[in-house]
Amino acid sequence: MVMGISWVVIATVLAAAGGVVGVVALRSDKVGRRAALVCMALSFGAQLMALGWRGELRGQCPLGDLGEICLFMAWSLTLFYLVTGTTYRVSLLGVFTAPFVFLLQVISLIPGAFEKNVVSAESIDAWREAHTSLSVLSYGALALAAVAGVMFFVLNYQLKARKFGGGLVQGMPSISRLVQAMARIAVVGWVILTAGIIAGLLMPKGNFGIHLMVATITWVLYAVLLGVYFVRGLPGRQLATGLTVLFVLSLVVFAKL
């Protein structure tokens, strides 16, 4: 237990370091930004070790308690950041992502978040495993889309209010790039969520729960938002608002369940 939890602590410290180094490096320090990216990559490695520890204890996908869900989501968020951060050259996204990853991991470190006496699963329902893991994975992507949305708000405000000073506006990707990143990351999340829901529908009878229903409603809302964006078009601010509100709302609903 001590060895296992230490991986979570390491991942949390590295995420915090990534955020702090990133903020300090905002004033056009490219080396510092790379250092922030390395911190996040190392944090990702530590998250994997921690998830491995919980998975071994459970004998199934580690999504059985609050600690595991937060950890899994932090891992998923970091994964998508590492992939899209380099694709879109939006390394600054790390500065915005790191605090969220840090927060999720701090929650998982709250005493009691990780169940102590975990009973190893006797049998595994593959569809159920696929449903839960894909759903949480999709939330990583949707969280990152919301983070990109927050970045959009910051940059949009600064450009509209004509506040051009400081490293933040200098280090940000362009408005067009952010809108593109928001939409594409959200599509990736939505596709994974679709797979998760399909897996949920294939679960043995009696396993259809409120979670699946909420996941389906979330899926529909994201589909409408993305559909409107791609077909009719939406101003960047409305897309950012939609993605952020939808993510926060679904997160709150899932937390209440």
């Binding site: 056009s28 940059l155 450009l159 509209k160 004509r162 051009f164 000073g165 506006v169 940000m172 990707p173 362009s174 408005i175 067009s176 790039r177 809108v179 009719r232 078009g233 939406l234 101003p235 960047g236 601010r237 409305q238």
Partner: protein, 337 residues
């Protein structure tokens, strides 16, 4: 043997004096050849740009700056007063001055990059003409290294210092790369031309020009390789534009919120940057209230340019340090031996 630099620039001499000493491209080789043909001048490089004419020479100990100045005035057939127009540096001071020039620290627009290429070209011509030897070869090579270091290790060339440059910087903040973007210039004056040119230099591919007088629009369009649009038809083009530059002499707003509102759906709410460099303004400020429109007026652009200039000036101390350090480190004959 000593190294001397003698010259005049925009800070020391008015344009009517500078133009007397400026050398056209074709005259540079002859001037350098003539300079080093004297027994007292061992090596020489002549640099001539629109804002400066400078002579770098390695001379025999007895030759003074006054001799060199007289020789230059004689060649230019200049009989007027030279009081205060010329500056001169010797040995280390001359080396440091060259580094400042190559770094853009001595330019009219602080930190501008064009001068680096101009110094390189001047040196290359002298080198090819056999006018440089060990002293100037080492000195100029070192100056190029210092120039690069100053630009990469300081913020001397960061930020746009002109209204046109600031417009480009803002457009890039909204669109990232400007490759393939469409621009419309409303008004066919000098500011329109400069801004359109600046946008084109960063990749804007389609430039349209509209003006109340179609002939003027056509002239500017032809000059910049764009397309002229009748003034009555500019609103129809708005649906596929990325950048609008307005610089007319109209006494009232030319672009109003309803013009943009009418094409928002057709544009699929894509971002639109509007730059109003006219006084009185051409674009109704209410246009800037539209979500996807980023509107900037001349004051904002001027403020950006001023701030960039201020930031560059703040870098001068750091640049001087780099130059001193690099000259100290180098083993330059006639400079620090």
């Amino acid at each position: 043997m000593k190294l001397v630099c003698l010259g005049l620039n925009h800070e020391t001499a008015p344009v009517e004096v500078r133009e007397r000493f400026a050398l056209l491209d074709g005259a540079l080789d002859g001037e350098t050849e003539s300079l080093v043909s004297s027994d007292d001048v061992l090596e020489g490089v002549v640099l001539s740009t629109c804002n400066r004419t400078e002579y770098y020479a390695v001379v025999n100990g007895g030759t003074g700056v006054t001799d060199l100045k007289n020789w230059i005035c004689q060649r230019r057939e200049y009989n007027g007063s030279t009081e205060g127009f010329f500056y001169h540096y010797e040995a280390r001071d001359a080396a440091e001055h060259l580094c400042r020039v190559a770094s853009g620290m001595n330019s009219m627009v602080l930190g501008e990059t064009e001068i680096f290429g101009q110094v390189k070209k001047a040196y290359k011509r002298s080198l090819e003409g056999g006018a440089t030897k060990s002293v100037l070869n080492k000195l100029f090579q070192r100056a190029f290294g210092v120039g690069k270091k100053v630009r990469t290790h300081t913020a001397i060339q960061e930020g746009a210092t002109s209204v046109a440059g600031a417009s480009v910087e803002l457009a890039e903040k909204v669109f990232g790369r400007l490759q393939g973007s469409s621009v419309m210039v409303i008004g066919a004056g000098e500011m329109s031309r400069k801004t359109a040119r600046a946008l084109q230099s960063r990749g804007a591919s389609s430039v349209m020009v509209t003006n109340r007088s179609f002939d003027k629009a056509a002239d500017l369009a032809e000059e910049i390789g764009g397309r002229a649009v009748p003034f009555s038809g500019w609103e129809e083009e708005l649906s596929h534009l990325d950048v609008v530059i307005a610089a007319t002499g109209a006494p009232h707003f030319v672009v109003k919120p309803q013009h943009v509102e009418a094409v928002r759906r057709k544009r699929k709410f894509r971002p639109l940057i509007m730059v109003d460099i006219a006084v009185p303004r051409d674009i109704d400020p209410e246009v800037g209230e539209i979500e996807e429109v980023y509107l900037y007026d001349i004051d904002t652009l001027q403020e950006m340019a001023d701030e960039a200039r201020k930031r560059r000036e703040e870098q001068l101390r750091l640049c001087e340090e780099i130059i001193r350090e690099e000259i100290d480190k180098a083993s330059l004959p006639a400079v620090n031996d």
